[in-house]
Symmetry: C2
Subunit: 208 residues, 2 copies
DNA sequence: TTCACGCTGTGAATTCATACACAGCCTATC
DNA sequence: GATAGGCTGTGTATGAATTCACAGCGTGAA
């Protein structure tokens, strides 16, 4: 079970790091797989498997060293040069994203926003400048942007995805409820909030 | 492979319905599994399996009747009396949710908002009244609310989840990046946007 | 020094979702 | 009426992710 961490593993690694970052502030030295498992909401065996995937090793008596582990996870997760993201669609959701991610993580930040509405272009939202769509390819190159976030209406999502790809972006986080047709070179992940809410309503009714 | 639709299947059913709703407006009579599969971004076999799960059947020559199918999916997905949701945390993300879901679907709507900030209580945001946290148990009963949406900071998420459960909610959509400890009676789904963005950045770098 | 405990690391088993592959069928066509 | 084509419905296979289960080990106690 070696090789690069899988899709699911990478997601959990991200969560582990966030939880451990909190814990390091409380001054804990070590953490056991079952402790991390409890706060992360997974099994202890799962945690140990994930640790194997990043080559972290713990001691049977002290568990995993928290600081070492955060460092190890960061080496795996963060690009050494950092990653920069562009947000397309400065609407309600887009503004929420901008406000949330501004200045949160040095290695991963939203450095540009795009919108087609002329009255939004040129404005600075949450410390992030909004550009016109025409400027995308230039801005993506200048700012070394590798990630795009699509927060436009679903009717515009496919066009935006293609523009992002053409500009050189290699990862897309898509909030629009459409299946994007993109090159297999480009990684994409969809977050469909409507689907999620409908699913919760479905199973809430079933568990009544 | 009978029995109730699985977690993943329910999610796809929701997506199918949305896609088919658009299609019915264009006047299409029937749809083949491979057509629906293409727009949904899944395989044709997957579509047919999902159709089996809801007991929908198509004809080898005409495919599935679109109107019948939407009806069939709605019978499966929608509670006959409708589902009503409460949003907790009228911040950036909460307001985006409110504006997006207002008046969108008759069988699933956000009918109340809650926040602890006194200056938000009593205001109407996107047609939805904001209540104080003290009013939760009463409002949940009065409005027959079965679903809760958690959009508060992660430090407050567990407390809010417990309050929602105590009030009688049986399904929770959680945006805070913490694993909720809730009764197994209650269904919960997490949407962790930070994790999703970190994952996209990770695989974007890898596919460079 | 010896022993017992509890955790790590990991092969094996299990579970679950998805994809394959084809029998059966309906329709259109000749 | 016979035939060919293409799609549905589904048993089976494949593949991936998770869990089980335990050997190995370091530590602290007796
Ligand atoms: N809670 C939510 O907000 C929510 C929930 C579920 C799904 N979504 C999805 O997220 C996406 C965004 O939702 P929202 O609520 O922020 O929408 P919104 O209407 O508030 O914002 C959309 C923004 O995109 C811009 N835009 C439109 N077409 C564009 C184009 N071709 N190029 C560039 N910019 C363009 C608009 O000017 C606007 O600023 C939608 O696809 C929606 O389906 C949102
Ligand atoms: N793009 C985003 O907005 C984004 C991205 C990733 C994660 N999240 C998560 O979503 C959640 C909400 O994010 P946000 O950006 O909307 O935050 P926000 O700070 O804009 O809003 C939080 C709201 O919750 C209210 N609140 C705080 N404590 C409360 C309590 N105990 N009871 C009731 N209300 C309370 C606050 O008054 C505020 O209105 C957070 O957990 C965050 O981690 C958001």
């Amino acid at each position: 079970m070696d090789g690069p961490p899988s899709y699911e593993t990478v997601g959990r690694l991200s969560r582990y790091r966030r939880l451990l970052t909190r814990r390091v502030e409380t001054g804990s030295e070590g953490v056991y797989s079952h402790e991390l498992a409890a706060v992360a909401g997974v099994s202890a065996a799962q945690v140990r498997r994930d640790m194997m995937a990043v080559g972290a090793n713990g001691s049977p008596t002290r568990g995993y060293n928290v600081e070492k582990l955060v460092e190890c996870l960061s080496v795996e997760l963060d690009d050494p040069e950092g990653s920069r993201a562009a947000l397309v669609g400065v609407g309600n959701l887009g503004r929420a994203m901008l406000s949330f991610f501004q200045g949160r993580r040095p290695k991963l930040s939203i450095v540009a926003a795009f919108d087609r509405e002329p009255y939004k272009v040129g404005r600075v939202v949450c410390g992030c400048r909004c550009y016109s769509m025409d400027e995308m390819s230039q801005v993506v190159i200048d700012k070394k942007i590798t990630v795009g976030i699509i927060a436009v209406p679903s009717s515009a999502a496919q066009a935006v995805a293609s523009e992002l790809e053409d500009a050189g972006v290699r990862g897309i986080l898509n909030f629009a409820p459409v299946a994007l047709r993109i090159s297999p070179e480009t990684f994409s992940e969809d977050i469909d909030m409507t689907m999620a809410l409908e699913r919760v309503a479905y199973f809430a009714g079933r568990n009544s």
